[in-house]
């Protein structure tokens, strides 16, 4: 795939095109492809770098700076929740673990019923989901591909009689190396980078990496283009970029798109921009087994537990459980304590199984723009969501004990360790709150949400901004609520839903 690198620009760049896509992840790649296939002159502008398979060396210290926002160090403003987000051509589809689940029907129905989203019900979205799944070769992971960590989750579910099952993935020719979150060195991921963006480029689209969009330009209620800067090898601006177009698609994530919208001074008569941020915050629980687990080998996430997950609003069952094994740097940072005791604990690394309880959150956070122009994520987990977190951590512990763990540890200061169900039942879980347990989020959503009522939403059901004609959103920003599961298929499919409307505007 031919990608134009902003770092190679020798002077300022000025372009006139039909449409601009900001961001090249799941949503941006689909929007770009559909605009190009409609015969339009379209460019994608991506802040991050362009990586190829040869760049993915499976080293945490090398890939975190290359593939993640803020070198993997992005966090909520209060530093309670680490937020891992992709950066670079292909966005988060480059580092995600390939989980493929459609937006649950109950969620789509909720959005229609309570958030005024039209034309995106289960029946209307089904063809889009099917098309995306074909494009990405989505299939269920075979049991023979299930690694020991995932198999312990299955064993725990079966022992407890809890609901669980295999997950579907978008991978072909997987070498089971286990380094999915650092980019696939074997080119097995059927993602935006490998599949969708090349299709877009083949249809005539241009992709620029290392170009950061700083402003959306608009006049008289219509978009006119974007103002951007090209970044050099060190990430410093070295050239100005101005692109004019009739249609612009924001697909820079629920954080990036919202921050750009705010920085651009878009009309916001009802104070909706950047609001209702959802994160799916998750905590982890580790079980120590008497045999080797070596959870870093094989597909990281191939089995799920949905016993504690309901999509009904207000439900007290809002926890999704999947394995969450980390490589040594991530494991060391999460493991409680320090010094000799920490190193001794790290020596049990091969015998650990790790699960995460991800909260299908109702907390309403916010993205704002800081004094330095960077996005700031404000998110204070609600009491109800904290209760779900505690419920989820207890459920993870119960699963690991049921699977035969000799000891189960919830990282905290001090760590909570139990060896039996009786000890778990006696454990006071009120400590399980942000700052007391390490929390990670990988699914920012909301902030520019869909809906027909401009007082409660930012974009129409078509994805077009309520007040600015020709400005569309095609990423996780669109979602009026959290999903309770991996968002990539939803983002791809909603970009497909939005794209025809962007095509219409781009044609003038």
């Amino acid at each position: 795939m031919n990608v134009l690198r902003g770092r190679d620009l020798v002077g300022d760049l000025s372009l006139d095109v039909d449409a601009i896509v900001v961001g090249t992840g799941a949503g941006g790649s689909i929007a770009l492809r559909e605009l190009a296939r409609a015969g339009l002159d379209v460019v994608a502008l991506e802040e991050g770098a362009f990586s190829t398979v040869a760049d993915f060396d499976q080293r945490e210290d090398h890939m975190l700076p290359r593939l993640f926002q803020e070198m993997g160090g992005r966090a909520t403003e209060d530093m309670a929740i680490r937020v891992l987000q992709g950066r670079g051509v292909g966005g988060s589809t480059v580092h995600n673990t390939n989980l493929c689940k459609r937006t649950p029907d109950a969620i789509l129905e909720l959005w229609a019923r309570e958030h005024g989203v039209e034309g995106a019900g289960p029946a209307e979205m089904r063809p889009g989901f099917e098309a995306i799944e074909r494009d990405l070769s989505v299939s269920l992971i075979e049991p023979s591909f299930r690694n020991a960590n995932n198999d312990l989750l299955r064993a725990g579910c079966e022992a407890l009689g809890w609901r669980g099952g295999p997950l579907a993935h978008n991978r072909v020719g997987c070498a089971q190396s286990g380094f999915c979150e650092l980019g696939c060195a074997f080119d097995a991921k059927q993602n935006a980078l490998k599949i969708v963006l090349p299709q877009a480029v083949a249809a005539g689209a241009r992709v620029y990496s290392d170009v950061r969009v700083e402003r959306v330009l608009f006049e008289a209620g219509c978009v006119t283009g974007v103002q951007a800067v090209a970044l050099d090898e060190a990430g410093a601006p070295h050239a100005r970029v101005l692109v004019r177009a009739r249609a612009i698609v924001l697909a820079a994530s629920a954080v990036g798109s919202a921050a750009l919208a705010l920085a651009s001074g878009l009309p916001d008569p009802h104070g909706q921009l950047g609001r209702r941020l959802r994160l799916h915050p998750g905590g982890i629980v580790a079980g120590t087994f008497d045999r080797a687990v070596e959870g870093w080998h094989g597909i990281p996430q191939s089995y799920e537990c949905t016993e504690h997950l309901s999509f009904e609003p207000g439900s007290d069952r809002r926890v999704w459980i999947v394995p969450a094994f980390a490589h040594p740097i991530g494991a060391a940072a999460t493991m409680p304590g320090f010094g000799a005791a920490h190193m001794a604990a790290m020596r049990t690394y091969p015998r650990l199984a790790v699960l995460t309880a991800m909260v299908h959150d109702e907390t309403s956070g916010e993205v704002v723009v800081g004094d330095d122009g960077r996005p700031v994520l404000r998110y204070r987990m609600s009491d109800a969501d904290q209760a779900q977190l505690a419920r989820g951590l207890a459920a993870c512990a119960r699963l690991l004990l049921a699977a035969g763990a000799r000891e189960v540890s919830i990282p905290a200061i001090p760590p909570r360790r139990v060896r039996s169900v009786a000890e778990l039942d006696a454990l006071d879980l009120s400590f399980a709150r942000p700052h007391a347990v390490p929390l990670t989020a990988v699914h920012p959503m909301g902030t520019l949400r869909l809906g027909e009522d401009p007082r409660r939403s930012v974009v129409r059901s078509t994805g077009e901004h309520h007040q600015v004609r020709g400005l569309f959103v095609a990423d996780g920003s669109l979602f009026p609520t959290s999903l309770g599961g991996p968002p990539q298929i939803s983002i791809y499919a909603f970009a497909l839903h939005v794209a025809p409307h962007a095509v219409e505007r781009a044609r003038g």
Partner: protein, 189 residues
Amino acid sequence: MRQDSGGPAGTKLGRRRVLALGAALLVLGGSAVAVVRTRGYAVPAGRTLVVLSAWQLAVVEDAARRIAAPDRPGDASIPTPDALDVAGFVDAWMAHMPAKVRRDLGRFLGYLEHLAPLACAMTTRFTRLGPDEQDRVLSAVEASSSDLLRAGFEGLKALVFMGYYRDPRTWGLVGFDGPQVGRPAEGWR
């Protein structure tokens, strides 16, 4: 070098006051810097710093020695943070972080060097304490009642372990066989 922490009640009150002061200074930003003495530190010969100052490097070096301390003292097969130049890695890593994050780290290091020992009833700066005292200080910060200070500790800890466990010489310690890509014929271990 160990110092008595005094009576429980008085110590508790003192800690709260000092921690509250530290947290307030951290929040107030620039004022924290004003109270931090930064003289009397030297950059090691041959070392060129990227973003850390001499005193910040010294704090990171000392903290790294305790955070990544060996579980088997004297075992020569366990690489030391100094041997892996963990502090140098942190300096280089921070150069690519946003300015605000660098500033926050600097403030936290200032707290750790000068105020955190006071919270443990120690009147000596962190880098002049012995290992046991440094462990006590770090434990106190790790378990602080201030979310901000705990987050600062976790951030420093993450940086130190990034610098430590990035090195193939540490992978054998934890039974990790390393990346498949570029793996030497004899293995990373």
